[in-house]
């Protein structure tokens, strides 16, 4: 049994590790949510069907910090709500521009995956 609840959520992908989509996924969530913090963003990923199977929540926080350093998000420390203090992030104008670029990238990757699945299904159909 895992020491932290988070570990139990992490099942991993069969046949491969999740790729480099954490950053665009976080940018998108911050665009549609307006503002959010790390722990909450983790839950939103699932709710929005962005099945990013994160192995390590530390990486999520680290990624947000890197994104802030690069100016695509900004944060402030918030102790006003319930529970412990949260680092609340918002997307910047620079972040919105980067998200737009990501959208083209991910659309192109999606096209490749469509091709992949189509070719595989055709090959399966023939051999059977």
């Amino acid at each position: 049994m895992p020491k932290w609840k988070f570990k139990a959520w992490c099942t991993g992908y069969p046949g491969g590790k999740p790729p480099r989509f954490l950053r665009p996924f976080l940018l998108l969530l911050l665009l549609v949510e307006g503002k959010s913090h790390g722990y909450e963003l983790l839950e939103r990923l699932r709710e929005y069907g962005l099945n990013y199977e994160l192995q390590d929540i530390g990486y999520l926080y680290r990624t947000l910090r890197v994104m802030e350093r690069e100016g695509v998000v900004s944060s402030r420390w918030d102790v006003s709500g319930e529970g412990p203090g949260k680092r609340v992030y918002t997307i910047t104008e620079k972040g919105k521009k980067e998200l737009e670029e990501w959208t083209r990238t991910l659309a192109s990757i999606k096209d490749s995956l469509d091709s992949f699945l189509k070719i595989y299904m055709e090959a399966r159909g023939k051999s059977e």
Copy 2:
């Protein structure tokens, strides 16, 4: 001007690097082509719409070697054809099983990308 022709093919993705799909793409190509070698597989990637924008052809050869070590492909050195010797690969039974797993993984990733693009388009529609 690049010293090697290959360098000129590499434009890179805007807004992010290509993810970990080289291995499943190569497995699929070997399934449908029967057999092929590294340099040829690079061309097939584009022909089949698997737009994997490889930055470094060395990584392709390295990946094939790793895949062979792990038993998902096998190779033999072939000097019978035109041009210099080629290392010709075929997919193994183990490779076919792994490819099937990859198919589920990539289908799940495709779903995430569909969600991403849908959410982005909706958000764009509202703000404009």
